[in-house]
Assembly symmetry: C2
Homo-oligomer: 485 residues x 2
């Protein structure tokens, strides 16, 4: 018998939950885009484009976004503390200011060495900084013991869903469209995704009636719905929830006894209005209506990967537990301890994100300049892309409010849909593949995030610099529509 047939692991006999999981952000299109990139790098001149634009993934520093100088200076000292002994680093040519030195020393005094495992929940000194940050942001206190540093928010979501879900009856309400981490993790846990549709017409707002309907349907089919995920600002939609929207979700959670998982990793990427955290709104409501909201369990997540920090390669983040039973929290602690600790340098980036240079400190001016430069750049690119979409036939796009994405709706001619079917593909996938082949621009089909039946979308980041690539999309689109008219 051939060796291959004798192997123990075959596609049909591995963990079916792994097989069932879907993760489009790094799927077929991303693999093909990487192949194109390699071909271009090797000098291939046969492609109809001269660069690949990875608009499929919120990876700011892969594109134009520069790291914030203060952050990286501190990290370089943490990696090589011998530099701290050298007064020359304070010279103009090195650019290290006294507050950089001080911060590195303070951190090393507590954590000793970034090469050592930390506390499994994260270094205590950093959790204290996060607690102060939350307190300053919300006006309500936070407890370092309720904070769990993690290797990016993805790892935090994984922890929370692992503890919450008991297979096979548990269900979690997930917005559609959603970031596919949620459905993929639920597949791995053999738990049920209970989808609720966001309202595209209302700037992708949250419709509590729609949530309630999904919840009732799920309950009727025997699913034990235990939690609701809210992504605010939204991914892939870019929507930003109002305090009223948040109250509606909390009302529902209080009534139905749902744990609230608030994915707030885009909290600084807000262009319209201002960000309100679920924690703040919860504390307000608890003060306003004593008793009604006291039993709510909220887990909210933040990350160094997004916003003006954009340090996703460092895998840093945290989640805060509010109102969890202590013995449930103890299980969460045990779960994270199995993986020992989050990367310590990533933890230090969390510290820097939540505790940046303050007015009057030597690094403040440069920090502010860099921070607002990134912020304005993102907003401008979002608007440029939005305007381009408005010029395109059969494309409708909500005004950009936040996050790093636009999620335009596309209406394709019936012949294009037929051509897709002939290739055994979904129409949006077909469109995105043709876009990649023609322009080198990689976006993700709406079907990777979920979308209302009989609608088609794609998600694109607005991180890539320049406007040339936007024009490539415009040109491709009009040729595509022409071809299949």
């Amino acid at each position: 018998m051939a060796a291959t047939a004798l192997r123990r692991l075959q596609l049909h006999n591995i963990n079916p939950n792994v097989k069932a999981a879907k993760y489009a952000v790094r799927g077929e299109l991303a693999v093909k885009a990487e192949e194109y990139r390699v071909r271009l790098a090797q000098g291939d001149k046969s492609l109809p484009f001269d660069s690949v634009i990875f608009a499929n993934i919120g990876n700011p520093q892969q594109l134009d976004q520069k790291p914030i100088t203060f952050f990286r200076q501190v990290l370089s000292l943490l990696e090589n503390p011998l530099l701290l002994e050298n007064p020359e680093v304070l010279k103009e040519t090195f650019g290290y200011k006294q507050d950089v030195i001080d911060r590195a020393k303070t951190l090393l005094n507590s954590i000793h060495n970034v090469g050592a495992y930390s506390h499994s929940q994260g270094a205590p000194v950093i959790r204290e900084s996060v607690a102060k940050f939350i307190e300053a942001r919300d006006g309500y206190s936070a407890n370092p013991q309720d904070l769990y540093l993690c290797a990016g928010a993805s790892s935090g979501v994984n922890t929370l869903l692992n503890v919450i879900c008991h297979a096979p009856h548990a269900g979690i309400l997930v917005p559609i469209p959603q970031y596919p981490l949620y459905t993929a993790t639920l597949s791995l846990l053999n738990a049920n995704c209970v989808p609720y549709l966001l309202e595209e017409e209302k700037a992708w707002g949250t419709d509590v009636d729609a949530i309630r309907k999904s919840l009732e349907t799920a309950k009727a089919s025997g699913i034990d719905v235990r939690a609701i995920v809210v992504i605010n600002p939204g991914n892939p939609t870019g929507a930003s929830l109002s305090p009223d929207d948040i109250k509606n979700v909390l009302d529902l959670a209080a009534e139905e006894k749902l744990v609230v998982i608030a994915d707030e990793v885009y909290q600084t990427n807000v262009f319209v209005g201002e960000f309100t955290s679920f924690k703040k709104r919860l504390r307000q409501l608890q003060a306003e209506v004593p008793g009604k909201y006291d039993h709510i369990e909220l887990a909210s997540l933040h990350s160094v990967s997004k916003g003006m920090v954009g340090e996703c390669g460092h895998r840093g983040g945290y989640f805060e537990l509010v109102g969890f039973e202590p013995d449930v929290a103890a299980q969460i602690y045990k779960f994270v301890s199995i993986m020992l600790c989050p990367p310590v340098i990533g933890q230090c980036l969390v510290e820097l994100m939540v505790n940046p240079p303050k007015e009057g400190e030597p690094s403040y001016e440069l920090y502010e300049k860099e921070y607002h430069g990134i912020r304005n750049g993102l907003h401008q690119r979002a608007l440029a892309l939005y305007k381009a979409f408005q010029r395109m036939e059969g494309v409708e796009c909500q005004e950009p409010q936040g996050a790093m994405y636009l999620f335009p709706k596309i209406t394709l001619p019936p012949k294009a849909v037929e051509a897709a079917t002939a290739e055994n593909r979904k129409a949006d996938e077909f469109y995105c593949l043709r876009l990649l082949d023609a322009t080198g621009i990689c976006v993700v089909p709406g079907s990777g995030f979920g979308q209302k039946e009989n609608t088609l979308h794609f998600r694109t980041t607005f991180l890539a610099p320049g406007t040339d690539w936007v024009e490539r999309i415009v040109k491709f689109h009009s040729e595509f529509i022409e071809k299949y008219k």
Copy 2:
């Protein structure tokens, strides 16, 4: 009703697999040791010791082990590439040599920015270095496409077990005593741990007959045994497997169609004989007996956390797949892509570990000095501890061969066992708690790793500097034995 009773998540209704998981390395004893450390730091003079010794966890840089200069210099440049533009860093006072600069530039040319997500399998340029390292170590080629960088070996084990195990019938052969990551992860997956006892009398060697017996028993009870875990050099035992031992395991794997998971994170911590990798032995056997071993699936793991590198806080590691079906490997890729990528700085440490300065290069001399200094220090401490155990009544310890641990067997007086039972504790747990209370030394009871029935052990690292703490154990032990005689 009180808010607490209204909460959705209660200990009795969360994921039972999480509840069932056990992870003693960071359990009650570790928590208590941390409390003692905090009390001492706050000036508490009421304790009978003046320092806490964390001998419960292989965390070299928390204790005496210094990071290797070359590694950290490169990392500091990766974090702050502006330093690369400054010729002054080459000055004597900074200590950066030209090969440090060159390595940082080479890495940045490929990965661009340590703040960006990399390929989910790890940066291609680093996987190429790992492949060359394996080739040089084993004398057999390795393919970068078969390599998966991961956030420490723990994360790699998690990936492999997730893909291999289908609940509830899958079973994995795990050595006893074992590192509890394995049993904890199997609990999370609702899969079966099929234990096989190591032979304490034969320096914790692997007894294939014992494995076969466990396998047959498991099969007879309906378990689908799919893989065997081998930890070489052993944790917690410190044992190092001979080429013959490895052949016996591979013979069994070939006959019984078992995936082999070779946890080789201690491959450079070998004091007796020399390390032979499972990959090398497999390739040798495949050449010697054509056909017989061709269908074997092997996954072997390595890490930056242990050895002379000791950079566990950076969470870096890799695993290599040998002989896996391509469509199974594709599922492994999808699984790791859900968590996006391993920490990029940790990936860079993998590069540095597998590709350190070479003879003739400017950093070579210092690197060699540091590397061998650490190595000799570990061996000396292991021997000092071993000798101390030989002086202790009722303590038997195998000669240290490798890894970072000793795992002595302790025989306790019946009265001590009764006292433990009265506290509702296992006797080894009772002993370790009393040891901590009396001396501030934190070790892990053998029951946390598994041990032969009616035997008691504890695991201690030999990382802590000095010999004072060893004498504390000797003194405590004799008083303990005296008390319960």
